[in-house]
Subunit: 208 residues, 4 copies
DNA sequence: TATGAATGAGACTTCATTCAT
DNA sequence: AATGAATGAAGTCTCATTCAT
């Protein structure tokens, strides 16, 4: 059920590293389908067929369509948070360094986990209340992590924005949006995208 | 088919003014439903019921569910473009002034037409190829309008961003995202949001 | 409501003459549609549209879809019977002469009223019981007219068939079937078809 | 897909033998319903109910209403052709013997497969183009088989008709029509009907 | 573990028909 | 005499889900 390589706490920089996702084939099939056609636009038969399973075969692994969505989306915010925390933990003490670390983490995640991230944010409304609440809570926590850094950066005179909370949200927004257009075969490498967006994000909060 | 008050070309500032939307009730019902539950998640019964019509009554006015979506989404980008063009036309000659005008236009539009804008961007994948292509073309044109301004701003030394195209997209992204959280009853007035996001957007491109 | 030129009793040979059908446009539209797609396969909208009427406009003239069918089919057998009777009345006294007259009448009718004849026989099952019964009664009467002639021909030694009733039905069948393939633009003229089928029909009952 | 007992090539006279049809119950239900009310007049619910299935249960076996029709009609002409070919193969060398064989085959088929034959010819217009074309091709082949025999019979001086092609079609027509009135509980046994119609058909082509 | 068969509910859409205007 | 608008019922088909095997 756990879909990612474990992040070893002591392993410096491991938050930057993304192996090939190793989702169980049923989840991988659901992910692709949901990303392409949306939750409501995807039938359980479509998922089963993409997974090379019969419909009851699929139900043997997951009790419902909703369970597939939940399985796909609950992990994803947890992983993002964990990676961001690790990035933060390894960053230097200044808000600028911390800002860079968390933004880079956001960016990489939305490139390497773009489908999961995209489906999770798109299909929030299709989640049952409990799962949605859990998801929202994690997402807010992630947002607050960046908010706090921006706030501290302003307090420390490192960032000059007059609207720290809005700027922080704007930064998150632009990082999240990467998931909706980034493609591994595109013209820009992940590293290049990180370079550019980091520069832009710093401007957004008025760094330096 | 035209759902908004006409923008009078000579009427200075009319791009800033948004009257109450006067969508036909069937379209209004579809819009609300699509915004809440998505295109695939909305049944034609739901739309009819919200519109106070029987199902065949709804079909009397619109020949298909897809037609409702198309009706809703084709107008919306056209209106945004028209307003942005008007804002640009009325703006002063400097890239900074033009940037402010177009960004403000984007912001206001995504607040006052938030549902239409939201549905259009969310349900692109549910549109039939022809409608989707038309929509994408208009959206790209809108994006290029801002791209050009940012580029000129950089050339003129008014903007300092090293990545004009990416910064321009980031600005659009943050403006568009307003549609997904803004609510008239929220704590911030549209004017206040314009003030804040304009400041942030200027920073993003490294204005002044 | 009466759809054919009147057959003047004293007008010799008028049973052979078919003017252009002068059905009211609604009936003409229904006839074409029923012939092409069948009664159940035709919608009232299709009929109205072919007739150049609005749907309520059509209902103003005919109270129901069934009424269109009834209007189309009740007249048709009546006309056939009338023409056959006239042909018979004008024929000479021998069974052979009478057989020829009635068969020719059947043939011409199924060429010049082919759509009506086709729809009437095809859509019997779509008629309400009363209309169907009336139609069947007339059809049986038409059949018995030929049966009697064949029987008399056999009694008179003019026909040699051992199965007069079956042969009579076979002759009717082949004449009726003409409606399903004859076309005015086809290679054979009505007169030529009459010549050929009359010869064949005579053989079928073993004439001479 | 094959719905009849196999015709064993070497089994003399097997073209005369018709066991009880063993259509899958869904097809049998569709056949009865189509025969009674026509394709367009039959709802899928009606078929399912006659078959003792729920509607989705029916769709589990056949993907569409059209598929039911196609399944019913494609086999039928193939079987007729096969039986006619076998009858022809077993017949003596003279056109008269061959004529008798093929006509008897036509007659028996339209008695023992009367519903299939009836539906196939009645619902040609309801078939999708591809299936219709296939059906027409087979039907034409069957017709040409008889045409050739009649032609040869005329050439050999065994038949005296002056219009071989038309007479051949007339014979086919009367045989096909048997399907629309024959009923196992009727007064005439199949053998008796064969006797009578064979005599009549011979007359029609002017045999001997 | 996997599957063919099944189903109640509901999807979109069209039907014949009516009625106020 | 004609029409725009409306509707209850029914059309074909697909949904997520279950169960015997």
């Amino acid at each position: 059920m756990d879909t990612r390589e474990d992040l070893v706490p002591g392993d410096t920089g491991s938050w930057r590293h993304y192996g090939a996702t190793t989702l169980p084939k049923a989840l991988a099939a659901a992910l692709d389908a949901f990303a392409e056609r949306g939750y409501d636009g995807t039938s359980i038969r479509e998922v089963a067929s993409r997974a090379g399973l019969s419909v009851p075969g699929l139900y043997h692994h997951y009790p419902s369509k909703q369970a597939l969505l939940v399985s796909l989306t609950t992990t994803v915010m947890r992983e993002l948070l964990e990676r961001s925390r690790q990035a933060l933990a390894e960053a230097g003490p200044t808000p600028s360094e911390q800002f860079d670390a968390v933004v880079e983490s956001l960016l990489r995640f939305h490139m390497f986990r773009r489908n999961q991230a995209f489906v999770a944010s798109t299909e929030m409304r299709s989640m049952e209340p409990a799962s949605r609440a859990a998801f929202v809570a994690l997402r807010d926590e992630q947002q607050r992590m960046l908010d706090r850094i921006v706030e501290e950066g302003v307090a420390a005179g490192e960032f000059s924005t007059r609207y720290p909370e809005d700027a922080s949200r704007a930064v998150t927004t632009m990082c999240v949006a990467v998931a909706s257009w980034y493609h591994p075969d595109g013209p820009l490498s992940p590293d290049e995208i990180v370079t550019r967006y980091l520069a832009i994000a710093r401007c957004t909060v008025g760094a330096r």
